[in-house]
């Protein structure tokens, strides 16, 4: 240690992060942070640019499309919901900086659907929304750890956990591919750790497991992966990675005419995103996929039809895909949480509203949510589908059969869940 101090005045180019004065140091506030008589401000961080942004960058537009619709129809008790979006490029340290901006500079009431396990973890440890009492609604990651209400007291998941997904995949494998050699491609981080835990619980033994470090996925890497799957003579290959990994794999597989039975995890299984990378739709044909929400082409579904119509008007020409549906569904659930938080919502009342009523929020999912005073767990299952020649995911057998489970040792069971009907005009009651 040394006592030298810089005497040179540095140019103050930094963000002046002097916004959150102690409650004892400022006059009492009239309302909650981010809430005025006319507005409720929410914030979102996710990759809007860069290689990881493909597909995900449609989520803010989708959420805004619903909020615009909501605002045009009276908002939340007369308050318009606004969404401030920050691009974190899928870099955890950048997510920390951008989240700090949202909380300290933009003064959002709550964070909505931040994306990525590493990013949400980085924010949790460096920005401490839990300590600040800032709600983190419906994180866009299936990492099971975020449901730990003690560790992440203000964070709520929405996607089924990766453990749940792997358990349901495992059940499907045992019922349909008994005796086959199974291969697994997975991301070599908490995302993959969850998957491995789920498959282990399901009792799946793999002929070969191929991990890839986040960020290392590429066509060259995919060629190496295929070599390993071929060597192990895998009949079924599960791609439990992000879209860029799935796309790299399927693209190279098409070139090499390598065609095992593909099984795609939901994170990397959005056909629109895959096709945008140049992968021929036909490669997806007969691949098995999983989703908690209805097929995005299912216009008989009242939620899909409703969201699709709104989105088409808000973002004409943009395909209505899984990212869009999930983004709008999340915004719809957030609106119900805000409504349930009372005439003058606060951060505390918002959290309490999800605890007490979250499990009954109307939403498009075909599986139940598990929110309660003791659980921050969102959706709890998937239905199983197959991709059509055009690359669209439809339920196996033409009818949705949904499975539900937990992130522990609980069994995988067919759910009898009855989804709530769409509220009038798609607005929170």
């Amino acid at each position: 240690m040394k006592a030298l101090h810089r005497r040179k005045l540095l140019t103050a180019t930094a963000v002046l992060a002097v916004f959150g004065l102690a409650a004892t140091a400022i006059p009492a506030q009239a309302a909650e942070v981010g809430v005025t008589s006319t507005q409720i401000k929410l914030g979102m961080t996710l990759p809007m640019t860069g290689t990881a942004s493909l597909g995900y960058n449609k989520i803010p537009g989708a959420a805004k499309a619903y909020f615009d619709y909501l605002n045009a129809n009276g908002g939340i008790n007369g308050r318009k919901v606004t969404l401030v979006v920050k691009d974190d490029r899928y870099v955890p340290t950048e997510a920390v900086a951008k989240t700090n901006e949202l909380i300290l500079k933009d003064k959002v009431m709550a964070l909505l659907a931040p994306l990525g396990t590493a990013n949400v973890k980085a924010v949790a440890s460096s920005v401490n929304p839990g300590r600040r009492g800032v709600p983190v609604l419906f994180v866009n990651t299936g990492f099971s750890g975020f449901a730990d209400a003690k560790k992440y007291p203000t964070t709520y998941t929405v996607l089924p956990s990766y453990i749940m997904e792997a358990k349901i995949m495992g059940q499907y494998i045992k019922e349909n591919f008994a005796g086959k050699k199974i291969g697994l491609l997975y991301q070599d981080d908490d995302f993959g750790t969850d998957a491995l835990a789920g498959f282990k619980t399901a009792g799946i033994n793999f002929a070969v497991k191929v991990p890839y470090a986040s960020g290392s996925q590429s066509a060259a890497a995919a060629a190496g992966w295929i070599t390993k799957f071929k060597a192990a003579e895998a009949d079924v290959v599960i791609l439990f990675g992000v879209s860029s990994a799935t796309s790299a794999m399927l693209g190279v597989a098409a070139q090499l005419k390598y065609a095992p039975q593909w099984m795609l995890g939901s994170v990397g299984g959005d056909a629109t995103t895959i096709k945008l990378t140049g992968v021929p739709a036909g490669v997806l044909y007969n691949a098995i996929g999983f989703s908690p929400v209805p097929a995005t082409t299912d216009m008989k579904d009242e939620y899909v039809k409703f969201f699709s119509d709104i989105y088409a008007k808000a973002v004409p020409g943009s395909a209505f895909d899984l990212n869009v549906l999930l983004g709008m569904n999340t915004a719809f659930m957030a609106a119900q949480a805000l409504k349930a938080a009372g005439a003058n919502p606060t951060r505390k009342s918002l959290l309490a509203a999800i605890d007490s009523k979250g499990a009954t929020f109307a939403n498009s999912a075909l599986v139940p949510a598990a929110y309660s005073k003791t659980s921050h767990v969102g959706l709890t299952g998937y239905w199983v589908g197959k991709y059509s020649p055009a690359g669209d995911l439809s339920p196996v057998g033409g009818t949705y059969v949904s499975y539900t489970t937990d992130s522990g040792a609980g069994a995988v069971v067919k759910t009898t869940y009855k989804r709530p009907a769409m509220p009038a005009k798609g607005l929170p009651n």
Partner: protein, 543 residues
């Protein structure tokens, strides 16, 4: 991938204050004063041989600001040693931080005197330094009987000394400001020692990394370690993009290399294990050059470069401070025989997963560094020496008088967690004081809200600050970003602390409300957001 150049690994090397004072030689004599106006200067030597300097304005109002300087090496550093060579031990008095003229000018404008010593002993010295300060306060009061209030402040190890003074002698000070405060000796040297140990067992097993011989032989060993450590860091820097391991790597390191794990991932893991910041003077772990590395650089490279910058400072501290404290205690003081490095990085492994090359690589590295691997032998401390180290002055964190803390959130030498510890402990203290007030109310029906005695000033980093040249290489010739480097404060920030001390000493209350908000904003790059929370030093999480 473009070649990355770092022009200077060790960014803070100069130690000597700019206040030039002719050192007197007679210990414990009355101060020698020049009688000049408007500023009278006095010098003297305390009974333990610490030279001191006093500067007293003609309009002296009875308040004096006592400054404690930070760690100065306790040995001369030969000129041939890279980066820090040429240092000579000095006990030049330092009455204001770094001789900062603006700070002195502010105090004088308020009629406040300044005083500070160079301490009799350098190295880790809070025990003797606190005594020196107690004597110095008494000497000042005798020389200037008009004195009514003393405010104390200090930087780095001087922060420890300042806090220690307030804990042991709250009757002597009316307000204090430990800035960029070091943690207690054990936590501080565990941080530095963990990193140095990792460098040794992976990259150069001939590094001694503690358990130095007594006397001159030990000093020579520490010189040898400095050269080896800086050499290894240079090799790691040179092979950053290829991931090649230094030719001096241990068998354990070579096995990891053979497994395809890049050396940069191992270096980052060592930094995370030790708790070093992943933002440094020039690397924000956010920015990337335009082009193919736009995303890869912040994900995989920048955190490593940050550890390279910060770790070089930590390793130098580990060598020299460990050698010094071992000299004081009589044996090896670093002991990681029971440290669970895997638990240490549990939170960070997913955040930096890409730079660490994935879970498989992380697990392989942690396995190699585990106590079960004889190829990475743990360091065992000398029980008696460790006990003596723990008997050295330790701050409890008790806040007795109005206290201002200021620290950079990415200070690599005295991590912000040392200040966070005081913040957290004070939260408990304040809650207890409120509970006591409520209890008293039940008897008296007169509720008295306890006075807040702590103001935390966080020196934050900019949103992003890594700069790149036209070729895409990072630029490291610019000034260190705010919030990074050691005690990297502007004059405006220091003056804000000085003003806060003055106000607290005169009113008994720290600044608050709109006035504080405005003052903080004007000082620049500071935050008083109570939501900021940084981790304590890793040693506190060990079982």
């Amino acid at each position: 991938m473009k070649k990355v150049r770092i022009l200077s690994l060790l960014s803070v090397t100069a130690l000597v204050t700019t206040v030039l004072v002719t050192a007197p030689t007679v210990a414990n004599a009355a101060p020698m004063c020049d009688g000049k106006s408007p500023i009278q200067s006095c010098v003297g030597v305390t009974s333990d041989g610490a030279p001191y300097a006093m500067q007293v304005p003609a309009n002296f109002n009875g308040t004096v600001a006592l400054y404690s300087h930070g760690y100065r090496y306790n040995v001369d550093i030969p000129a041939g040693i890279p980066l820090i060579g040429g240092y000579k031990i000095t006990n030049t008095p330092e009455p204001v931080p770094g001789g900062n003229a603006e700070v002195a000018k502010y105090f004088f404008s308020q009629g406040i005197a300044i005083v500070g010593s160079g301490f009799a002993r350098q190295g880790w010295n809070p025990d003797s330094a606190i005594k020196t300060n107690v004597e110095l306060i008494d000497t000042f009061k005798k020389q200037f009987p008009k004195t009514t209030k003393v405010v104390a402040w200090g930087s780095s190890l001087g922060g420890v000394i300042t806090q220690g003074l307030a804990e042991k002698h709250p009757e002597l000070v009316s307000a204090v400001a430990p800035m960029c405060m070091a943690d207690n000796v054990s936590a501080e040297l565990t941080m530095a020692g963990d990193f140095l140990w990792g460098i040794k067992v992976l990259f150069d097993p001939t590094i001694k990394a503690g358990n130095y011989s007594a006397g001159a032989a030990g000093v020579a060993e520490s010189y040898g370690d400095l050269v080896k450590v800086f050499t290894v860091m240079g090799k790691l820097q040179a092979s950053l993009t290829t991931g090649a391991w230094p030719d001096t790597s241990s068998a354990t390191g070579k096995a990891l290399a053979a497994a395809g794990i890049p050396s940069r991932s191992a270096l980052l893991l060592l930094g995370l294990m030790a708790g070093l910041p992943t933002q440094s003077a020039h690397f924000d772990s956010i920015s990337g050059p335009d082009g193919a590395l736009k995303l890869t650089f912040p994900l995989a490279i920048s955190p490593v470069l940050a550890i390279l910058e910060n770790g070089t400072n930590a390793a130098a501290l580990a060598v020299l401070a460990t050698q010094d404290v071992e000299n004081q205690t009589g044996g090896a003081i670093f002991d990681n025989t029971k440290t669970d490095y895997s638990a240490r990085v549990d939170a960070e492994r997913v955040i930096f997963n890409a730079a660490l090359s994935g879970n498989t690589a992380i697990d392989a590295m942690l396995g190699a560094l585990s106590a079960a691997n004889p190829g990475a032998p743990r360091a065992a401390g000398n029980a008696a020496a460790v006990a003596k180290m723990k008997a050295l002055h330790q701050n409890t964190g008790k806040i007795n008088v109005p206290t201002v803390l200021m620290v950079g959130v990415a200070d690599p030498i005295t991590p912000a967690g040392a200040s966070q510890r005081l913040v957290d402990l004070y939260a408990e203290q304040y809650a207890a004081e409120k509970a006591a007030a409520r209890k008293a109310y039940q008897a008296s029906r007169d509720y008295k809200t306890p006075t807040n005695k702590l103001l935390m000033l966080w020196n934050t980093t900019p949103s992003n600050y890594t700069k790149f040249d036209a070729a895409g290489s990072p630029i490291t010739s610019t000034a260190a970003a705010q919030g990074t480097n050691h005690c990297n404060f502007t004059s405006a920030q220091l003056v804000l602390v000085a003003k806060s001390l003055v106000q607290a000493s005169s009113t008994g209350k720290l600044p608050s409300g709109g006035a504080l908000y405005t003052a903080v904003r004007k000082a620049g790059n500071l935050s008083i957001d109570k939501g900021i929370s940084v981790p304590w030093l890793k040693a506190y999480g060990d079982n």
